[in-house]
Structures are given as structure tokens and as C-alpha cells.
């Protein structure tokens, strides 16, 4: 019942084919990685990797307390951050329901000379965490009462200031 040499050769040939194609595709994807990335992070923009006056996407977390709404229009200003660098974003229009401070977003638009990102589309980026509202409520209540001083603010919002949430 040992495997026939002919069959073994076919198996090796198939695995070789798979490996070869895998290496080719891997190299192509590696070469194209900058085009595959959906957005530039604030750090990449600070390093000058994002060209000015060209349509591109910027992604990051909305910094707590940075949101400013104009009183007479739908224009909003906020700061997105990857906890290393910050980028100021300006946007006129309706924000998605899940937009809030501390939440990840991806904005499409252009970078001007002052380094402000003028967005014409803002998408909310959801993280991989799900929680019933009662749990969130209980967590923030506990934090308010300082019963659990070790709980960070991020746990109550379900948003982790890690690379995970920024991706």
C-alpha cells in the first residue's frame, strides 16, 4: 500500500507548483504593498510619504476632545492620530453614525500645503470588538465610582489604542 513513486512525484510537482506561484504572488504583493494599503497613517504623512494635492486616504483614531463643529454649517474639524503623530482634518458633510472621538476613521481627500487634510468623505472604521450596551454601562459606572481604578478609559469604549484598532 506504499505510495506509488509516480503518485509521489505528482504530489511533489503540485506542491512545487503551489510554492512557485506563492513566491511570485508574494513578491508582487510585496512590491505593490503601498498601493494595496487603503490609507496613509499620520506617521507616514508626517514623514512626507503622502503626496500633497493628490487624492488619497488618511486613517487614524479621532483624538479625544479634538472635534470642533462650526455653528453655521456642517463643517467639522478634528485631529486623527496614531499615538505618534497627529493630522488635522477638515470635512463638510454628514458624518457616519459610528463617528465619535476615540473611534478609528478613514477619510478621503487631499493634503494642503499647511498639512491639513481636506476630506470629502469620512468612513468609520469598526474594530473587532462587540459588547452589549449593559456591559458598557456597567463598565463606565464602575469607573465613575472609581471602584475599578485599573480599568482604562479605552476598555469602557471598547476601543484599544493599539495598532489593532488602527489597522
Amino acid at each position: 500500500m506504499a505510495m506509488h513513486p509516480k503518485r509521489r512525484n505528482k504530489l511533489i510537482l503540485i506542491l512545487g507548483l503551489l510554492l512557485g506561484v506563492g513566491v511570485i504572488v508574494g513578491l508582487v504583493l510585496y512590491a505593490l504593498s503601498q498601493n494595496i494599503n487603503l490609507f496613509f497613517s499620520p506617521t507616514e504623512m508626517a514623514q512626507g510619504k503622502a503626496p500633497a494635492h493628490q487624492r488619497l486616504r488618511a486613517g487614524g483614531m479621532v483624538r479625544e476632545g479634538s472635534l470642533v463643529r462650526a455653528s453655521d454649517s456642517l463643517t467639522v474639524q478634528f485631529v486623527i492620530t496614531d499615538f505618534a503623530e497627529d493630522v488635522k482634518v477638515e470635512y463638510t458633510g454628514i458624518l457616519p453614525d459610528l463617528f465619535r472621538e476615540g473611534q478609528g476613521i478613514v477619510a478621503q481627500g487631499k493634503l494642503n500645503d499647511e498639512g491639513v487634510f481636506l476630506a470629502d468623505e469620512v468612513l468609520a472604521k469598526h474594530d473587532e470588538k462587540y459588547m452589549p450596551p449593559e456591559v458598557t454601562q456597567a463598565l463606565s459606572d464602575a469607573q465613575a465610582a472609581s471602584l475599578v481604578p485599573t480599568l482604562s478609559k479605552d476598555q469602557t469604549t471598547g476601543v484599544e489604542p493599539s495598532n489593532e484598532a488602527l489597522k
Partner: protein
């Protein structure tokens, strides 16, 4: 290299016999049908009606009880199709080619469901039905691969040649599976990373992930059930007139 590494178990060769697959598959079929029905009903009712709503998304997160199983199966079915095809090529087993052929339509269906439910969820959550990020694009490529495999399989009349050609396309196409899986880690994407990994505990409470586990298991049962039904139907077509079949209780009614 010792001989024992290359030895295949007895059941492997038995599954290659059309008669054996027809009978054994036939006896498994009702069990998978019952399991699929029970798991899907239980999981869907629990997930869609009783699981708690999400603190940010409200009720719209419930679409994951359809989306996640469909997305998972779309990749599993493709892998299954490639493995069956490879087995068919290496051991020259006709039944393996039939199994691979049975995977095409169900896999394409799961992929289409995953893309559709994802778009429906994306609009209220992200603010867009479709974004050309790595996860979404690679999943769309998967749908096109299924379409290509389907077209190739239908275009060739000779079942053996069609099986081989399809298998090679499926094997090469499996390169896309790790790309889909790791797209959310390798590149910046709008799509979130996995809520479930084998190493860490799920990032949602049991009331939310247990129904999801049930619908995932139920979907796998649906997949096996469809493979059994379609492969047995192909066996009937190709073996018509064969002695074992003409004397079979399913034919004679005895």
C-alpha cells in the same frame, strides 16, 4: 524517508470507489441534514432574536450571524475543492473530481452571500457599501476564481480532463486564501481584524459568539450535505448501467 509516511489509510481508497461513496454518503446524508437544520435554526433564532445588541452598532451587527459563516465557508470550500482536485490528480480518483465539481456552486454562493451581507452592513457602519480595501478586493477575486473554475469545468466535455484542468486552476487559486485571511493584518484596511482566533479568547461575550459558533457549524453541515447530494447524483449519472447500481436497493426498490 520511511514507507509508512507515504501509506494512505484504508478508508481513503474506499472513498474512491463510487459504490462505496454512494452507500456511505447515503447513510451520512440524513444525519447532516438534521444537524444542519437544528444548528442553523438554533443559532439563527438565538443570534437574531435573543442575543444582546451591540453598544455601538445596535441591531445591525446581527448580520454577522449570516456574514461570518458565509465568509468562512467561501474560503473553506475553495480549499476543500483544491484538495479534492489534487487527490484526483495524484491518485487518479474519479470520485475526487466529482467532489471538487460539487464544491464550485456552493462555494460561489457562500462568497456572494458574504459580499452582499458585507455591503449591507457596511453602509450603516462604515458609511459606504463598497471600499476597495484588501479584504474586500481579495474576496471579490475569490468570487471571480469560482466563476473561472465553474466556466472551465463546464467548457470541457471529457470529465477526466475537465477534472484535471479544474483542479489545477483551483490549486493555483488557493494562493488567494491566505491573502484573504491575512489581508487585514498585512495591509491597512477598512475591514476590521478577526474577532476570533485560536489563540486568544473572543472579543465579544458568550451570548454573542455562541450563536455565531452554532451558525458556523450549521453552515459546515450544509456544505457537507450539498457535497454528498451532488456527488452522489454525479455517481448516478456516470455509473448508469453499472452492475452494482442496477442491483442497488435504491434502483430495484427492494
Amino acid at each position: 524517508m520511511t514507507q509508512s509516511i507515504w501509506r494512505m489509510p484504508r478508508w481513503f481508497h474506499q472513498m474512491g470507489s463510487p459504490k462505496w461513496f454512494y452507500d456511505f454518503g447515503g447513510s451520512l446524508q440524513p444525519w447532516f441534514a438534521i444537524a444542519a437544520f437544528a444548528l442553523l435554526t438554533w443559532g439563527m433564532v438565538w443570534g437574531l432574536a435573543f442575543a444582546p445588541a451591540d453598544y455601538q452598532q445596535g441591531n445591525s451587527f446581527r448580520i454577522m450571524y449570516v456574514h461570518v459563516p458565509a465568509a468562512l465557508l467561501s474560503q473553506s470550500v475553495f480549499l476543500g475543492m483544491a484538495v479534492a482536485g489534487a487527490v484526483g490528480i495524484i491518485w487518479k480518483i474519479k470520485v475526487a473530481f466529482m467532489v471538487a465539481r460539487s464544491c464550485i456552486a456552493i462555494g460561489a454562493t457562500f462568497t456572494a452571500i458574504a459580499l452582499l451581507t458585507g455591503a449591507i452592513w457596511g453602509k450603516p457602519t462604515w458609511g459606504a457599501y463598497w471600499v476597495w480595501d484588501a479584504r474586500l478586493t481579495s474576496t471579490l477575486v475569490l468570487l471571480f476564481l469560482y466563476a473561472g473554475v465553474m466556466a472551465l469545468n463546464q467548457a470541457i466535455t471529457d470529465r477526466q480532463i475537465a477534472g484535471k484542468a479544474t483542479a489545477i486552476l483551483a490549486i493555483v487559486g488557493t494562493i488567494n486564501i491566505p491573502i484573504i485571511k491575512y489581508s487585514v493584518e498585512w495591509w491597512n484596511t477598512l475591514h476590521q481584524s478577526s474577532s476570533f482566533t485560536l489563540t486568544a479568547k473572543p472579543s465579544m461575550p458568550a451570548d454573542m459568539y455562541l450563536p455565531l459558533l452554532l451558525t458556523v457549524l450549521g453552515s459546515y453541515c450544509v456544505f457537507v450535505l450539498v457535497i454528498l447530494i451532488r456527488t452522489r447524483a454525479q455517481i448516478l449519472q456516470t455509473q448508469s448501467g453499472a452492475n452494482w447500481l442496477m442491483q442497488h436497493r435504491d434502483i430495484t426498490g427492494a
